[in-house]
């Protein structure tokens, strides 16, 4: 995703709603996908996207250009989503005693099924959804939002080594899943 122009940000900081609307349009897909990668629900992702931009609107006067706008935006997105996950965990604990946030179910209807080119893509998509949240997050930031390693480290306030380790473990896990699926497909019935 390209960074929005700085004059747009300045105008939005001064309260220009049209400039803010343009900012929203240029960044909402990234925010929505990040939220979806953590929450696995279209309704939750949409709700969190709205809440994120409300927080952005409130905090915009305090934004300084030392950080990239998208890094700052994604940091707000991640924090908002993690708070929501904690709430969901607490609600789940009250209902059925589960506290594991990873037990959020994988959606049956793949939103991107129509855009998945082949069976391998579909298998990879499902394998990504089954990764732990911390791996899904870095996968989304690196491959979908196309942030660099240092940008991801700044967004998540984690060391660079940790980001690389998460990504590499995610890649290994996915390779193992794909190989297992391929062997399953290759086995004669």
């Amino acid at each position: 995703m390209n960074a929005p122009p700085s004059d747009l940000i300045v105008r939005a900081q001064e309260g220009d709603m049209q400039a803010f609307a343009a900012l929203v349009q240029s960044t909402q897909t990234g925010v929505y996908n990040l939220a979806y990668s953590l929450l696995h629900s279209r309704e939750e992702a949409e709700d969190l996207t709205q809440e994120t931009f409300v927080r952005v609107w409130r905090a915009l006067p305090g934004f300084r250009a030392e950080a990239k706008f998208t890094t700052w935006l994604y940091r707000i997105t991640v924090n908002t989503c993690l708070n929501r996950r904690r709430q969901l965990s607490a609600e789940m604990a009250k209902v059925d005693g589960q506290t594991d946030p990873e037990s959020v179910s994988i959606p049956e209807d793949e939103p991107t099924a129509a855009t998945l080119r082949d069976e391998r893509s579909a298998v990879l998509w499902r394998a990504v959804q089954q990764l732990p949240a911390k791996y899904r997050l870095v996968i989304s930031l690196f491959y979908q939002q196309q942030l660099s390693y240092p940008e991801i480290a700044r967004t998540l306030a984690l060391p660079l080594g940790t980001i690389k380790a998460h990504l590499n473990r995610a890649r290994q896990s996915l390779a193992k899943s794909l190989r297992g699926q391929q062997e399953g497909l290759d086995d004669p019935v």
């Binding site: 709603m17 803010f20 609307a21 929203v24 349009q25 909402q28 897909t29 929505y32 996908n33 979806y36 279209r42 992702a45 949409e46 996207t49 709205q50 931009f53 409300v54 609107w57 409130r58 905090a59 915009l60 006067p61 305090g62 939103p111 991107t112 855009t115 998945l116 080119r117 391998r120 893509s121 990879l124 998509w125 990504v128 996968i139 491959y143 979908q144 690389k164 990504l167 590499n168 473990r169 890649r171 290994q172 996915l174 390779a175 193992k176 794909l178 190989r179």
Partner: protein, 193 residues
């Protein structure tokens, strides 16, 4: 740890970096030439990398933008609301508390005002021997009580108000209003001096 284990640890990054010819990966390349297992793992990682680079984005509802802007507009109205005059349900009790503090302070048994003022004058003269300070007793108490009451009133008013101090948007407005007021006072002081 075997050479395969070491290579496997480096393989994901090697593949993600495009299987470069750099010296950093010389040992990886050397091992891949002789180990079929690691070559198979590298192939799997290549497929993963290719798939991830084409990972599709989830498509959101086209009405999402409108919903976001509606919610932000509602939020703006809430922020504007915060800056209206404090409601009477806040002013009345705050004023009552301030008046109570003022009357309590005024009715406390105090040492003789004249003695206090003389002591203050002597203390100040000791610090500034070349500039003896003339302090009028009534003025002294008036200033002391006014500062005390104002501070108490502002503090109580803010703590009882609906103003959300954690909202940086509101904080930004406070900062601009305070700096604006300070600038106007400074300008007034310069004009009258």
């Amino acid at each position: 740890m075997t050479l395969c284990d070491l290579t496997c640890d480096s393989l994901p990054q090697y593949v993600a970096d495009g299987e470069t010819e750099s010296l950093a990966y010389a040992s990886v390349r050397a091992h891949l030439r002789v180990c079929a297992t690691c070559r198979a793992q590298a192939l799997a990682l290549r497929h993963v990398e290719q798939g991830l680079r084409n990972l599709p984005l989830v498509v959101h509802d086209p009405l999402l933008t409108a919903r976001i802007l509606r919610r932000v507009a509602a939020e703006s109205d809430t922020i504007a609301e915060e800056w209206r005059l404090l409601p009477w349900a806040v002013w009345v009790p705050a004023l009552a508390v301030v008046l109570a503090i003022v009357f309590a302070a005024a009715s406390l048994p105090m040492p003789s005002s004249a003695t206090l003022v003389q002591g203050l004058r002597a203390m100040l003269s000791g610090w500034l021997p070349s500039a003896p300070v003339q302090v009028d007793a009534v003025l002294f108490w008036a200033i002391w009580l006014a500062v005390f009451a104002t501070s108490a009133g502002v503090g109580i008013g803010l703590s009882l108000s609906h103003w959300d101090s954690s909202a940086s948007h509101s904080l930004g407005k406070v900062q601009s209003r305070v700096s604006g007021a300070a600038a106007r006072l400074w300008g007034l002081a310069r004009r009258t001096h």
